[in-house]
């Protein structure tokens, strides 16, 4: 059986911007792992293929070790078991004969109880959108297989439909709000506890030691508090926890991440290679991002290669305790229904020292903020240079790319041509709303 994850159309992916501008939805993180990893584990297969938006296909193919946008995976006679069979340094498809299970990545893995094996069945949500399609190999052969969208539409039209009540992720902040609970579930699923790394004394451990796992290669310096009283703490391989850090569970610290005297409040998922200082609460950091210094980040989702400048602080609770609204498209505010939502910060964004982010702020990918000490507007478009209180074109995207290259090279990662092509596409996609903001900024500049 082959699992195929098919990314949502742009109008749905937009609910997960700015993070989803540069990655398929299943690469978003909640708890210990990505949504995709959870779905793959839940379905329990090694044969997995992906379909993503065309503009990111080449960039994603370079990262994913599985077929991307390759419609031959819809062919029932060929398969890529465990990614294929290596021959002369390449993965070569081999004959298997596969049933297919196509899944919408918004499906919550923990609630996805569709058996991998079974007769063909297409699960629809209330609006009639396909949440999954299990297609037996005999039926696969009867459907058009040139394009995945056509394949799914034909499956819906020709195969038995069922109403599915499986819950889905609707917005990017859903992941943030579910993170603490997901960490607890992931800790239980991982089934690990104990100390395999180095814990230098004196270190204080509160709560039940069974709720703590410190992986091999981890170094916990002296004068650290690990508090698992309200939830588990999982510190992954080669992480380093500096003195005066306090880690409250539920919490996941990713591989090779460093806490620098951080007040790591409950509900944080810190991806790999992050550097965390100051105070962070109920937030997700995708990975490779820095929040090195003081300042508070709460109920936020921070992408990759973000630098959060010293004393950058976000509000995650309005002073009247009303629900937080977020603008995902720069035009229309969406009521999150939650009283706690912080910032959504896209990949490669940079905030200057002293940046103050309002409750439910959106900072686009590649945005660069030079704060003036005032509270920022709630929507900063991607690739915007926010200077002197207004959105400008700044020094342009070329300069932002140079900075991104530099940031990545510092972690031995490479900025590639395919990645740049993807970002060029994102630049175009996000141009209308950015240009509107620039015009507004110009008007403000002229009246100064």
């Amino acid at each position: 059986m082959r699992l195929i994850l098919v990314d949502s159309p742009e109008e749905v992916r937009g609910n997960f911007y700015p993070l989803a501008l540069s990655r398929p939805l299943w690469e978003l993180r909640c708890g210990f792992t990505s949504l995709g990893e959870k779905l793959i584990a839940r379905v329990g297969v090694g044969d997995v293929a992906y379909f993503v938006a065309d503009y990111m296909a080449d960039a994603y193919r370079a990262k994913a070790r599985r077929p991307v946008n390759d419609s031959s995976v819809l062919d029932p006679c060929f398969g890529f078991p465990q990614g294929g069979v290596p021959r002369r340094g390449k993965l070569v498809p081999v004959k298997t004969g596969n049933d297919l299970l196509i899944v919408d990545p918004r499906v919550k893995a923990d609630s996805f109880d569709v058996a991998a094996k079974g007769p063909s069945e297409v699960g629809l949500d209330e609006q009639g959108s396909v949440l999954y399609a299990r297609v037996a190999k005999d039926d696969v052969a009867k459907l058009p297989r040139d394009e995945v969208g056509e394949f799914i539409a034909a499956a819906k039209a020709k195969l038995p439909n069922v109403r599915s009540a499986v819950p889905t992720w609707r917005y990017i902040w859903d992941l943030v709000l579910a993170n603490a609970e997901q960490i607890t579930a992931d800790f239980a699923a991982a089934g690990r506890n104990g100390i395999e790394g180095t814990v230098e004394q004196p270190t204080a451990i509160r709560g039940n030691k069974k709720d703590i796992y410190i992986a091999p290669g981890v170094t916990v310096h002296p004068m650290v508090v690990i508090d698992a009283e309200d939830g588990p703490v999982y510190i992954d391989e080669d992480a380093e926890i500096h003195p005066f850090s306090r880690i409250e569970g539920p919490c996941y610290i990713g591989k090779k991440s460093v806490l620098l005297g951080a007040k790591c409040r409950k509900g944080n998922s810190i991806g790999p290679f992050c550097r965390i200082g100051g105070e962070v609460e109920e937030s997700i950091m995708q990975g490779y991002s820095n929040k090195y210094h003081g300042g508070f980040i709460g109920h936020a989702y921070i992408g990759e290669w973000v630098n959060v400048g010293a004393l950058t602080t976000n509000s995650d609770l309005k002073s009247d305790y009303s629900t937080v609204s977020v603008m995902l498209d720069g035009r229309r505010a969406i009521d999150t229904g939650s009283t706690k939502v912080g910032s959504l910060i896209g990949d490669h964004a940079k905030t200057s020292i002293g940046t103050l982010l309002n409750t439910g702020s959106y900072v686009g990918a590649m945005a660069l903020i030079m704060a003036t000490g005032k509270l920022l507007p709630k929507f900063i478009p991607s690739f915007a240079w926010f200077v002197e209180g207004i959105v400008t074109k700044g020094f342009g995207k070329g300069k932002l790319y140079e900075t991104a290259k530099m940031a990545m090279s510092r972690r031995n990662c490479q900025w590639t041509e395919v990645e740049q092509s993807m970002w060029d596409a994102v630049f175009k996609m996000t141009a209308p709303v950015r240009n509107e903001a620039i015009k507004k900024g110009r008007r403000a500049m002229l009246t100064r």
Partner: protein, 95 residues
Amino acid sequence: MATIEERVKAVTARILKLDPDQIKTEHSFTVDLGAESVQSIELVAMFEEEFGIEMDEDAALSVETVGKAVEFIAKVCREQGVDVEPATGGPNDSP
């Protein structure tokens, strides 16, 4: 109608808070007129507004002197079909 040079000097004076008569074509925006990086961004934005043109950021920000800015803007205006008065009222510092 003012020349491009006069208009460039007027915009520069407004953003950098200088007397327009003190600005010479050979002046460097950063070294002689004291433009900081943030003001360079404002200058490019205001030149675009003044002349109704769109400039490539990298090219625009590589322009160092007032005279070169006049030449650059004149070229962009020609390329983008924007009618302007002659670049200067007299000799400039172009090579």
